[in-house]
């Protein structure tokens, strides 16, 4: 493999041996895994935007923080200090 730094090549060689693959096959597996992982992360970021597009809390009541605080403090009286 050309242009691969020595330490990276050595790491790849050791991993390929451990996995019982050729160095080229191991490189392809890692590349594929890396690309899939990056695509999954990108998809999640895009999905956040999709969720936000459809999400709307109508005004006219307590804020979400107030609702959560209400739950956390239900039956709990913080000490006066």
């Amino acid at each position: 493999m050309r242009g691969v730094p020595d330490e990276l090549y050595e790491e790849l060689r050791v991993e390929a041996k451990r996995e019982g693959r050729s160095i080229g096959a191991q490189a392809i597996v890692l590349l594929r895994t890396g690309l899939e992982e990056r695509r999954r992360r990108t998809d999640l970021v895009l999905r956040l935007e999709e969720v936000r597009r459809r999400f709307q809390i109508r005004p006219g009541g307590p804020t979400p923080e107030e609702l959560i605080r209400e739950d956390r403090d239900r039956g709990h009286r913080p000490p006066l200090y």
Binding site: L44, V45, L48, R52, Q56, I57, G60, P64, E65
Partner: protein
């Protein structure tokens, strides 16, 4: 408020998640935290009560006619998809008890404080009382990930 040295992990509380998925909150820093976690630029963990708190908040909003059920389901599906380390409160109840007694917080609050302390993480919350108790915190809407980790967001 940001306290303590740099850290590359965050603990999200329910209030920060709801703000992040709600564009009406206008909280761009909450969105930035969640986007950094979704893009796995930051490690994130939550106590298991996080999911119940978010779900209960949505339940109340739906019952009040302020949120569409489908929007809540989508947001919960998204939360479920995130690479979050979910810490079982069952395993840390003793620490939660000690923290609750020490701080005067409820056990629910204390669970976040304990999870953040164990992970040496920044607790991201819109709740001032919770932020004030954690050793490292990012109080929304004032503190975003870039304020804590810089542009690299920790390169976690």
């Amino acid at each position: 408020m940001v306290t303590g040295p740099r850290s590359t992990s965050a603990v999200l509380d329910a209030s920060s998640f709801v703000r992040a998925v709600d564009p009406e909150s206008g909280d761009e820093r909450a969105r930035a935290w969640l986007e950094a976690i979704a893009g796995e630029r930051l490690d994130a963990s939550v106590p298991d009560v996080f999911f119940l708190e978010v779900t209960n908040t949505f339940t109340k909003l739906i019952r009040a006619g302020r949120l569409e059920p489908q929007a809540a389901e989508d947001a919960l599906g998204f939360a479920h998809s995130l690479e979050l380390s979910v810490i079982e409160t069952r395993d840390i109840v003793w620490e939660i008890l000690a923290a609750a007694l020490d701080t005067g917080l409820s056990a629910y609050d204390a669970s976040y404080v304990v999870v953040a302390a164990r992970a040496d993480a920044v607790l991201v919350t819109a709740d001032r009382r919770l932020a004030d108790t954690a050793s490292r915190s990012a109080l929304l809407p004032w503190v975003g990930p870039e304020d804590v980790f810089g542009d690299s967001e920790g390169d976690a």
